[in-house]
């Protein structure tokens, strides 16, 4: 496990309402705090239940002040949904920030009515892959893994597991999984733990596309 002496590690978690972004950022923050790091979290979730974008900035380190991550300073963007990953890509460190992305694309209703046009899934994936070197992008089929873990609502924890396996965050996977269990409902501990390791193994075994 990495030592607690890190200047600054910044992670953006982004998705749409109902995907569990805030729960995931709480778990990450709790684990970082337990590891002796200072923590700041900024949440935007005002329209979470109304199909809006939801995101969370998690900053960990010895000297972090602002809860928001300045552009170009995120070590990782974790996109629970592809268009939301793209929306926050500007925060990524241009040279070595990584993207962990769930390969789901959730169109807003306004896309179907023609009021806003979103790109197709393959096109968007192509754009993301064209901007980052292959070793900086991890594409996960989080929905399938969550279902295999026993609960489709565990996509957020699958993504945390995947993030953990990239080695970007200064927290060991066992510590992170404990923080997840402290934050999710008691009746769903087992499926969340399974979901975490499924995401973790997907990345550590190099099974991402």
């Amino acid at each position: 496990m990495a030592s607690a002496k890190v200047d600054e590690v910044n992670v953006v978690l982004a998705g749409v309402g109902g995907q569990g972004v805030v729960v995931a950022s709480d778990a990450l923050g709790l684990a970082a705090m337990k590891a002796g790091l200072n923590v700041r979290i900024a949440n935007v979730h005002g329209l979470a239940q109304r199909e809006g974008s939801v995101y969370s900035h998690v900053r960990m380190g010895s000297a972090v002040y602002s809860p928001k991550i300045p552009p170009g300073r995120a070590n990782a963007v974790v996109g629970f949904e592809m268009s939301e990953a793209a929306r926050h890509l500007r925060l990524l460190k241009p040279d070595d920030g990584i993207l962990v992305v769930n390969n789901a694309l959730m169109y807003p209703l306004a896309h179907f009515t023609g009021h806003v046009r979103y790109p197709g899934r393959e096109d968007l994936l192509e754009v993301l892959e064209s901007r980052l070197e292959p070793e900086r992008i991890y594409v996960i089929d989080a929905a399938s893994l969550a279902i295999r873990a026993g609960n489709p609502r565990t996509v957020n924890v699958v993504m945390l597991g995947a993030l953990s396996a990239t080695g970007v965050i200064p927290i060991g996977p066992d510590e992170l999984v404990e923080a997840v269990k402290a934050r999710v409902p008691k009746f769903a501990l087992e499926e969340n733990e399974r979901a975490f390791w499924m995401g973790y193994n997907e990345v550590s075994r190099g099974e991402t596309t």
Partner: protein, 629 residues
């Protein structure tokens, strides 16, 4: 998470700003706490209400912010430490009694917590409520992060009680909704007995009494300024002097510290953080201005501190250059960010802040369109709006719909595009009635939710009746204050701590106001609802009085929550592809459970999102939407 609010002993907890403020109330001896929900402030009382009984304190969701303030003020006069919480818009409602409370002073601590929304994320305007304290002459304080927010509630409460004045605690969305480690302090659970004073020369604030008491208000302010001269209300960081200095408050302080840290300037640039902002402590500000050549003032929204700093420099002949909003370097509107503060400080200090490196990644981000919020799948408001639109269509009129504040705002978004205004709490009825009185010939409908109806709609409805305004008032009664997180409304039948309360019915109010046409209906039966809207429009026109329709159905999220607890889920609808002709009528209802496959030219339904409300099936011209299984 609420359990942490009553924990004792040495502990550091990861807390949201609003949660920290709730904890602060319990460490400050607040015994009487009131609020009306409003983003970004709602979680303060929501958290306190979960522990109120155990802590032995009184909490209430008040009918509106003015009532909330008056309740807390009354308790503070009676000797109980009190707090009232509201968003900035609500703080506008309290100015009248607040101005009097500033003159009478208080007997126990009274802290007014006002949450500003500079962006704004979820508000119709964005006013700097520090000026409310300035106008009525009470102390104004502001925290920069959750930990300081908790401590500052305690400091503000002590200050209020010591100085016998209400204190305005202003904070912003970025503090309210951010999380940080918070060191818990000792709980102070007061059990004071109320003793409301009979002090007529002070509390019967008729003009001669007010004239006698106003000077005392300014004496109190002078004493407060002395307190604000010292820590914790003023804090200094960095060296004793420098070429550049920063005067900061609120979350911009932390953006600035981040920039200074990244640039290795923490030891070079002196920083003066002002937690106590009004009255501004002249001595430490003057000392600071004399220690630098140039100073940047960082604060969100108005140049509240900046103007005072310029005045102090000017009156004392200090030749310091003051940079900020007056010089055009910083904006007077919008939420600040590390990016903005970084850019401005880099320009002024002539350093290259690393965050400014723009890359091709920006292009990708800016290519993604905004996710337009919709009303939830199965939301009853959808049917209400569709029936109003259908009634207008049937009558062949382009009617006007005056909207109000709540979830039903989302009805303004495409594809529903169902309301013509959205102004302030209760404005729908007043403006709709005025439209008719001004001579508008089209049918006019006012749409208002149940919580908003009781908050600000009642006086406007009385006004519409006595002035004979032939409008339709559609009350969307979904039993809760939903936009802000399902707080109890007067229609809920429970209060803040879960005790049973009478269920108030908008239709009973309408009947008591002698409105001749009052109808309660279900928003889920489109045909019947359309018919009722047509009848209401005709009744208003023939009677020359308002007609009231109460669209009643509980918020779907609340219904689903209860189902889930029982291990049940709703039976969703599904599209029969062979019957679907691809006309998109279902999609035009704006339900997020629907999607459309362009290749197949067929609609589809996300089974996991659909609540089975049947609205889409009712608008489908080919009967292609049926219940699953």
């Amino acid at each position: 998470m609420a359990a942490i609010l009553l924990e004792e002993g040495e502990k550091v907890a990861l807390m949201m700003g609003n949660e920290a403020i709730a904890r602060g109330a319990l460490e400050a001896g607040a015994q009487f706490v009131t609020a009306y929900p409003g983003t970004p402030s709602s979680e303060v009382l929501a958290n306190l209400s979960r522990v109120a009984s155990k802590a032995g304190i009184y909490v209430e969701w008040s009918t509106n912010e003015k009532v909330a303030f008056e309740a807390a003020y009354s308790a503070a006069l009676a000797g109980l430490r009190s707090m009232t919480v509201m968003k900035h818009l609500g703080a506008h409602w309290i100015l009248d009694p607040l101005a009097v409370a500033a003159i009478t002073g208080v007997d126990a601590g009274l802290v007014i917590v006002s949450a500003d929304d500079p962006h704004p994320h979820s508000s119709q305007s964005s006013v700097d409520t520090r000026f409310h304290g300035r106008i009525v002459n009470i102390p104004v304080v502001e925290p920069s992060d959750p930990a300081e927010a908790k401590d500052l509630i305690v400091w503000a409460m002590d200050l209020s009680e010591d100085m016998k004045t209400p204190v305005l605690f202003r904070y912003t969305a970025a503090v309210a909704h951010s999380k940080a480690p918070v060191r818990l302090g000792p709980l102070r659970l007061e059990k004071r007995k109320p003793n409301f004073p009979k002090d007529h020369p002070r509390l019967v604030s008729i003009a001669p009494h007010a004239r006698a008491n106003i000077p005392k208000l300014f004496e109190r302010l002078e004493r407060v300024e002395k307190v604000f001269e010292d820590e914790p209300f003023v804090q200094r960081f960095g060296p004793d002097s420098g070429v550049w200095g920063l005067i900061t408050t609120g979350v911009p302080h932390n953006y600035a510290m981040d920039v200074l840290a990244a640039e290795g300037l923490l030891e070079k640039v002196p920083v003066l953080k002002l937690i106590g902002q009004y009255p501004i402590p002249e001595e430490p500000v003057l000392d600071f201005l004399r220690s630098v050549d140039k100073v940047v003032v960082l604060e969100e929204l108005e140049p509240f501190l900046e103007d005072q700093v310029i005045r102090i420099a000017e009156l004392n002949g200090v030749g310091v250059e003051v940079y900020g909003k007056n010089t055009g370097h910083l904006p007077r509107y919008g939420e600040y960010s590390p990016e903005l503060v970084g850019r401005v400080l880099s320009d002024l200090f002539d350093v290259n802040y690393p965050a400014l490196t723009l890359t091709t990644l920006d292009e990708v981000s800016s290519s993604v369109g905004r996710r337009i919020p919709q009303m939830c799948a199965g939301c009853p408001h959808r049917g209400s709006y569709l029936s109003i639109k259908a009634a207008f269509a049937r009558l062949g009129v382009d009617g006007l719909v005056f909207g109000d504040r709540g979830c039903y705002n989302q009805g303004s978004n495409p594809p529903l595009d169902a309301i013509d205004t959205c102004i302030a709490m209760g404005s729908s009825i007043a403006m709709a009635a005025a439209a008719k009185k001004a001579g508008e010939t089209r049918p006019v409908v006012a749409v208002i939710g149940d919580s908003t109806f009781f908050h600000g709609g009642l006086p406007a409805l009385v006004n519409a009746v006595v002035n004979r305004a032939p409008i339709v008032v559609a009350v969307f009664d979904n039993r809760w204050t939903c936009m802000t997180g399902h707080q109890p409304s007067p229609t809920s039948g429970v209060n803040a701590i879960g005790d049973q309360a009478p269920v108030l019915k908008p239709e009973d109010v309408a009947k008591a106001f002698q409105i001749p046409f009052v109808r309660v209906l279900s928003p889920y039966n489109l045909k019947a609802a359309e018919e009722a809207v047509v009848e209401a429009i005709r009744s208003a026109e023939s009677s020359g009085l308002p007609a009231v329709l109460v669209f009643r159905a509980e918020c779907t999220l609340q219904v689903l929550r209860r189902l889930r607890k029982k291990g049940l889920r709703p039976r969703p609808m599904t599209v029969n592809p062979s019957a679907c002709v691809g006309c998109k009528e279902c999609i035009k209802t704006g339900c997020p459970a629907l999607g459309f496959d362009e290749e197949l030219n067929k609609a589809f339904i996300y089974g996991g999102k659909c609540t089975g409300c049947t609205i889409c099936a009712q608008v489908c011209p080919t009967g292609a939407i049926v219940r699953e299984g």
